[in-house]
Amino acid sequence: MSMTRREFLEVLAVAAASGMALDSRQALAGEVPKNFYELPKFGNVSFMHFTDCHAQLLPVYFREPNVNIGVGAALGKAPHLVGEHFLKAYGIKPGSLEAHAFTYLDFTAAAKIYGKVGGFAHLATLIKNVRAQRPGALLLDSGDTWQGSGTALWTNGADMVGAQKMLGVNVMAPHWEFTLGAERVKEIVEKDFKGSVDFVAQNVKTVDFGDQVFKPYVIKVMNKVPVAIIGQAFPYTPVANPRYFTPDWTFGIQDDNMQKMVDEARAKGAKVVVVLSHNGLDVDLKMATRVTGVDVIFGGHTHDAVPQAVPVKNAKGVTLVTNAGSNGKYLGVMDLDVRNGKVQGYKYRLLPVFANLIEPDRAMADYIKKVRLPYEAKLNEKLAISEDLLYRRGNFNGTFDQIIVDALMEVKGSDMAFSPGFRWGTSLLPGEPITMERLLDQTSITYPATTLNEMTGQQIRDVMEDVCDNLFNPDPYYQQGGDMVRVGGLQYTCDPNQKMGKRISNMVLRGKAVDANKKYLVAGWASVQEGVTGTPIWDVVAEYLRSVKVVKKLKVNQPTLVGMNKNQGIASY
């Protein structure tokens, strides 16, 4: 795909003619870089990278966050920059195609102009074109690929496994994959992926003897250069997700074993060593200071779309750290110039995948059509119309999460509701129907049971403090990479700079201060405990939406924040 400026304008013209709300003056203002998808060849070793597609086979809307706060050493640095701060840091012109891709600014208006993002058929075309210029380029997937859609849930990940193989994924690392259960993961790795995709994870070991469960790394050869790709699974899988899915395996960050693997790969002749990581960007940035000998970390998990690689110094050199966003919205392309046995230079681009600008790959489009066919009717059920822009991503709450907590409180008859701070989930423009498919984008997990529990004010506070520390602990190794638990009904104040136990205050329910000793009815879902039963969350929310019919402008319940006035990770709050 090498779309010229002229061709792009033609696409826009067609879009306008077909009735899209298109502000042509803005679109024609010249903010589309010339030859947007043309990447001049550089160097001799190339990687393509995507992450956290969350099983989105078709193009979607995805709004980047307006709240992505960094504390401690992360203050004011990528990825903890939003809106104007982000544009400034990366020299992106306001109102441009890239400004729309990387920030939340004017999201609805811009999304109407530029259209949906991602989609495996579009990704496939882009990958083919990049590969055509770079024969042998490796395609890396940082995981969260087998979860996030209705079809992935219903096919037990099979739709995505097929799509990965067609896309030509060479190596992948895991996280949500494990929520399909250890046996299913093993089955895919040993049967479906045999001879095609390498599933690598240096930090997954057996609980009893500490034996490696998967290959820690693979060595591939590109342009006669031996290249090692070391896998890093999400270190806190059995903490953030139910441990009973992988009872015999232990995870963790395991820097020392990572160093061992790097040294081993180098000893075996690897001239380039990269880590395919699901740590999350802040953890990767710290790991890059501690582990030496890694050229590039290709990261995911925190869904941060960072347009440039971050060079991190350590005792023996520099490691480049990248993170490639989510939902199939981006493809990272890293070209390395490897000479005299080492990396001499690099070029990195994080390409937003605009579906309207890329011809879909026919074979992949047909495949997607085929895997969806048995489920189309169910997916397309229109549950309600939304008058508001719906999204999830953001540290404290999103409009779609507000619907979820509203539904939980309404259907369960509770005082308040908790909804997990997942970072996946697509966006919907005002006026779009909320279909079952869009609802499943926000809820499709293998532990969907809803719950109704009595909790004391103290217990509620403890839960909130605990989750808040997973987000704002100044040491990234103690963070889990999710967002704050979404809270319905309860107002509170949050001071991210405080220590654990001191961040949450002023808890108020229906105008009254929450009593530490009093019991409250709390609805929730996605418990990590074993044996929890209850109506799946999508049924609860679907029931609510069918009765509401039209979702009006939502009042998003977010905490009052303390000490964030100058933080560049928050805007329009």
Binding site: V239, A240, P420, G482, V528
Partner: protein, 156 residues
């Protein structure tokens, strides 16, 4: 191969770890028994009393004690902890969980120049520092590592 080893050891019984350690001469049989059981130290509530009972008040911080434990515990009921002491003449390695009701969790006595290495699993009620105290000669040394115990859930 691994599966076989696993099955064999499972059938061999849970006590095997101690038995192997005793057989290898790492732990004196009596030290496993009550004879050298430091009751006041194990019963002590709070760090000051526990350290006092161990005779390790004022232990010096040491970079020669390496504690390997998870940053966030996968299960607070069984947190794996490995301690390596590079201090010459290490005669005992003590593991304490500062915020447990009874902080002293394990006390290993090493005989005849045994390697200063122990691996165990400890129980933690909440996020806490895990403190290791090593005795060598007449002196005590210490190092610390925080282990977070979380309710879990809500991961990205």
């Amino acid at each position: 191969m691994n599966a076989k080893r696993r099955t064999f050891l499972k059938s061999a019984g849970a006590a095997s770890t101690v038995a192997v350690a005793v057989a290898a001469g790492l732990i004196k049989p009596t030290s496993v028994m009550a004879a050298e059981w430091n009751k006041p130290a194990f019963d002590a509530k709070g760090m000051p009393d526990a350290l006092k009972a161990l005779g390790s008040v004022g232990a010096a911080d040491s970079k020669d004690i390496l504690i390997k434990a998870p940053d966030i515990a996968e299960n607070g009921a069984v947190v794996p902890v490995e301690v390596t002491s590079k201090i010459a003449g290490t005669s005992s390695i003590v593991v304490m969980v500062e915020k447990n009701a009874n902080p002293l969790t394990a006390d290993f006595n090493l005989m005849n120049g045994a390697e200063g290495y122990v691996s165990t699993r400890i129980k933690m009620g909440q996020t806490s520092n895990v403190r290791v105290v090593v005795k060598a000669g007449a002196k005590s040394y210490t190092a610390v590592k925080e282990v977070k115990v979380t309710i879990g859930g809500c991961g990205g």
